[in-house]
Amino acid sequence: MKTAQIIIGLGFGDEGKGITTDFLSQQNPESVVIRFSGGQQAAHTVMIDDKKHIHSSFSSGALRGLPSYFTEHCTIHPTFLFNEREELSKKSGNIELHIHPLAKVTTPFDVLSNRKNIQNLEHGTCGKGVGATMKRNESPFKLFAIDLIGPRSMLIEKLKGIANYYGFEEGEEIQNALQDFLEAIDKIDWKIEGYSYLDSFNNLIFEGSQGILLDMDHGVFPNVTFANTTSKNAYEVCKLLKIENIEMFYVTRSYSTRHGSGWMSNEKELILKNNEEETCIFNEYQKNLRFGYLDYDLLNYALKLDEAYVVANKKNLVVTCLDQLEEEFKVEDLDVKFDTVYGSYSPYSKDFKRIN
């Protein structure tokens, strides 16, 4: 029987979806790892021995050697993708990446306009054009993965329309951006495939992005992400593929975090140790990572909410960063009875331990 393992962050992102994906990849090396929300703004860190990779345009099984798939709900950014591909090759990761024909393509114009708009910055953008891409795809100026392998002249015509949509006038800056973009597209051997590609796998790892509390329908507007970050999209794909055996892996750190602006229930400076490998360092768009003690009510909210989107056979919990804070995790404060609760005590998935 085919199995889907769905990894979902219960907070505002940065919970440890990367390390959890690596844990499942190590247990199920014949799997494909599927990204089903967000896109190049993800920064999912995996460390194996002396290797480290931050996965964005590839799924987090790549460093361990598993192939990646991006669904139609995702965005892709050809230039970022190409750069990450080079990096992964050097680390002997798996650069096999299949992309759904309807995945949305971020153009240089989406990034430029995203960064130019100060309003976006206040809402917590990460400056990688994802929000702009999603919004633009609601207008007539759409661009899909399939367009990357269509006739070049048609692609250029569509790109011109997009430049105009943002009010960019033809000029050197635009020409250069376009040139880089087209070069990156040329250097990649695109594998654009519908969901039937996934038929050959018996174990499918669905790697969520960001967290339930940033969901476009459930976060606190306007500091939300333009995506469904619950199990919604993953479950839809499972239904299409007629996969009934679904295991959930909900992930939280042992404390709360939020990167970027917006509401937090319990913001507080925490004294953390062993956090030298923190991926979320200061960046000019999202500023610092913010902290607080875990809010069990919010965790229960997120868990209950996800029940609205998925019917699962098993529910597991992963608590990461347990080595960073002197504060016991209180699984008894959660309303869900988990099959297995894993604790993570280092940046390496080999240090996962069952704690229930």
Binding site: I118, Q119, K135, S139, F141, Y165, G167
Partner: protein
């Protein structure tokens, strides 16, 4: 809208009761404390703002006033509520134009601000006009880019207003923007979608000006209170010629508008196509 009168006495009483003369801008413009525009002024999904004739105002004269609500210009709405608005409306009526219908727009900066466009309704009554004016959120944004979004006033006037003046009498309305910066030169489709909810075409400011001029005489009141404003003024003169009116004292805004409105509309004839009596009509 627009079936009430501008009652100077009632306005005077209300201003005293509300303390318009003495209160600070933040106390009068209550949206400022909330740091957001009033939902009723959100232009998203508005089809049209209409200036219609009524029994009380059979010859409505549509006037759009786009107020710059960015950082350097927020004192103008304050001045209008303190003294300017009754001077403006009273002056127009006493000047022989009995049916003015005034629509306030709050103009910001679509590249920087949360609320680059706010939209009231065409009104003739003192109470309604005070309401829309004090509902306006003075965002005080702007930012260090190349100008403000005065072209949003033209966009809105061109595509989202309807007037009996034009439809019944072939008479253009008047559109004023007031500010101290150049006009931004491009209104991208992406920004229009963000602001209006729909839109798929990018416009330049000259295209929008031309569109607005089909049904409005377009003016800009350039407030010359800084070197930057002097430079912007040159741009505006190049664009609008005589229809860019430059003033040194921002308190002259009501007077300038009054003069122009009365000049155009006195006796309810000019502003429409001048037929020169019956002389130009061929009669067989």
């Amino acid at each position: 809208m627009g079936s009430t009168r501008y009652d100077m006495d009632a306005r005077y009483d209300r201003a005293r009761k509300e303390g318009y003369a003495s209160k600070s801008a933040c106390e009068i413009f209550t949206q400022n404390a909330k740091r957001m525009a009033h939902e009723s002024m959100n232009p998203k999904n508005i089809s049209f703002r209409e200036s219609r004739d009524s029994a009380v105002h059979p010859n409505s004269v549509p006037i759009i006033l786009g107020l710059d609500v960015t950082g350097s210009m927020g004192h103008i709405p304050h001045e209008l509520i303190k003294e300017g608005l009754p001077k403006l409306m009273g002056g127009i009526i006493q000047g022989g134009v009995p049916d003015p219908a005034l629509l306030f727009l709050g103009i910001g900066d679509h590249e920087c601000d949360g609320y680059p466009l706010q939209v009231g309704q065409f009104e003739s009554g003192d109470e309604e006009l005070d309401m829309w004016l004090t509902r306006t959120y003075i965002e005080s944004g702007g930012g260090g880019n190349a100008g403000e979004s005065y072209l949003l006033a033209w966009y809105f006037a061109a595509f989202h207003t309807r007037t009996d003046a034009f439809e019944k009498r072939n008479q253009k309305g008047l559109l004023f923007t007031v500010g101290d910066e150049p006009c931004l030169k491009t209104l991208p489709a992406s920004a229009i979608r963000e602001i209006m909810g729909t839109g798929q075409q990018t416009f330049t400011h000259t295209e929008l000006l031309k569109e607005a001029q089909k049904r409005y005489e377009v003016f800009h009141i350039s407030v010359l209170h800084s070197d930057g404003a002097m430079r912007a003024d040159k741009d505006w003169k190049d664009l609008l010629g005589q229809n860019c009116v430059s003033i040194k004292d921002y308190r002259d805004v009501p007077n300038v508008i009054k003069e122009i409105v009365c000049d155009k509309f006195k006796n309810g004839t000019s502003g429409s196509f001048d037929l020169g009596g019956f002389n130009n009509i061929q009669m067989f």
